[in-house]
Symmetry: C2
Subunit: 279 residues, 2 copies
């Protein structure tokens, strides 16, 4: 590794989903809708063999798997303002950012979709995500119509650009939820996706998301109370899948008295950062 | 139309291509590689029925077709720093921006890929572009692997982010070139695409592009001389398909004594602009 590479990957909150397990991790994935966020993950690749997350040495299985798949040894510096394990797809973003940045720093270039497939497989194998990587590769308001990595999966998007606020009370274990009975989850997720593809608007996404969380009994007490408070103030909010996190549109959370982090829908997907002065 | 909508679409210079005509404009298109540019087209939709380009009343066939397909009447204000008809995909960008912005201003929402298909069809039918729209929907360095609108076409990308400079000496008629003998063009374009998918790097794109322009005899005297000057100064440049336009990477053109416009590879595709203050 004699060059450096730097990539930005948007965060991603899933509003609702249906899991689609498969033996082949490239075919496994999820369908559903979420928001790509301008609060995301920056990955810098340099010489070495240490992975750090916000300055602390860290082990992120999906990142190690990506480096192994690319047959590269490198130091990976991951920086993010997002809470980890709280439903923002940080591990998927770290994996995807590593794939982009490490390839840019190496002499063996690859097309973007191959890098997305490598990162998707790594995230699925690590059990840390089923659909974040393909959503983070697209950006905007990704609509995962068919599960899996490119070219198997299919991701469309809802054209929308809003301010987004979020508050996180902590993490939830993706693995615990997905190891339970997922039949009801799958049915609710499929119904939700049908509702949103019929009316692809952000208002429909938020209303459908709240119905999905209620039906699948995924609300925690704290998140349920926060969403109720926002709704009583006339705002749009729901729960991030899967974390004890509330996200809302516009000034929904601050209007209801919370002190949220503020970002916006990030229009693009994962991308390299410029390495020279640009106009 | 009682709401407004505003979209940004990157410009797009094609480095090389092969035309793939078809009866159905959704299947027609091109394969090839280009650069999406941060110099692009902004489209604002308001009440009315007038189309303006940089403040002047204008008739852009693809824009009219998009409005008709969406069954909307609107005023369309198109602003761009790019030269028109010089190989930057301005008409495709105007069509795609109109599709996004007009949908955002209406009550009938649609998924992004449907809007891309509507704009692609309009650009193909108007004879103003074969692959710009799908490239502008993806952003970055789009690699058009299969021709046509989604879900028929397939667009991958080369992960890259560079400063881009360009100088334009005028326009070339896309229709004239494409109405000639396109067999040699197609063969050269297919070979070029094979070379770049084998080594998906920007250096390979530029070298392959110059070979393509030589082989297909598309150089004008002025463009050929300019590219030669840049090469003698050690810079990377080639000719935009199809315009009398030279584009280069980094400071290639200014280093060679030209006074170029300066922008960069735009990492994202077409997107709505925020309508509220965002973080």
């Amino acid at each position: 590794m004699d060059q450096t590479g730097r990539a930005f990957v948007p965060g991603h909150v899933t509003a609702f989903f249906s899991p689609h397990p498969a033996q082949d991790p490239l075919l496994a994935g999820s369908r559903g809708v979420g928001l790509a966020l301008s609060d995301g993950v920056t990955v810098q690749i340099t010489d070495g063999d240490v992975v750090t997350l916000n300055g602390e040495p860290s082990e992120i299985a999906a990142v190690e798997t990506v480096l192994a798949a690319l047959d590269l040894t490198a130091s990976v510096r991951i920086e993010t303002p997002l809470p980890v394990g709280a439903g923002f797809g940080v591990s998927g973003a770290a994996a995807l950012g590593t794939a982009f940045a490490a390839t840019a720093a190496s002499d063996r270039r690859r097309l973007a979709d191959e890098l997305v497939a490598i990162a998707h497989r790594a995230d699925v194998e690590a059990g840390t995500g089923l659909g974040d990587v393909v959503a983070q590769a697209r950006g905007g308001v990704p609509v995962r119509l068919a599960p899996g990595a490119p070219p198997h999966g299919r991701v469309d998007a809802i054209p929308a650009r809003r301010r987004v606020e979020y508050v996180s009370f902590g993490g939830l274990s993706t693995e615990t939820v997905l190891s339970g009975d997922t039949e009801a989850l799958t049915a609710a997720g499929e119904r939700a996706l049908e509702a949103v593809t019929t009316d692809p608007s952000l208002g429909q996404v938020m209303e459908t998301a709240r119905g999905f969380v209620r039906e699948t009994d995924l609300y925690t007490e704290q998140v349920s109370a926060a969403v109720r408070t926002v709704r009583e103030n006339g705002g749009e909010a729901s729960m991030a899948m899967l974390g004890e996190t509330v996200f809302g549109l516009g000034t929904a959370l601050s209007d209801a008295g919370f002190d949220p982090a503020v970002c916006q829908i990030h229009p693009g997907g994962a991308a390299l950062e410029p390495t020279e002065p640009v106009a």
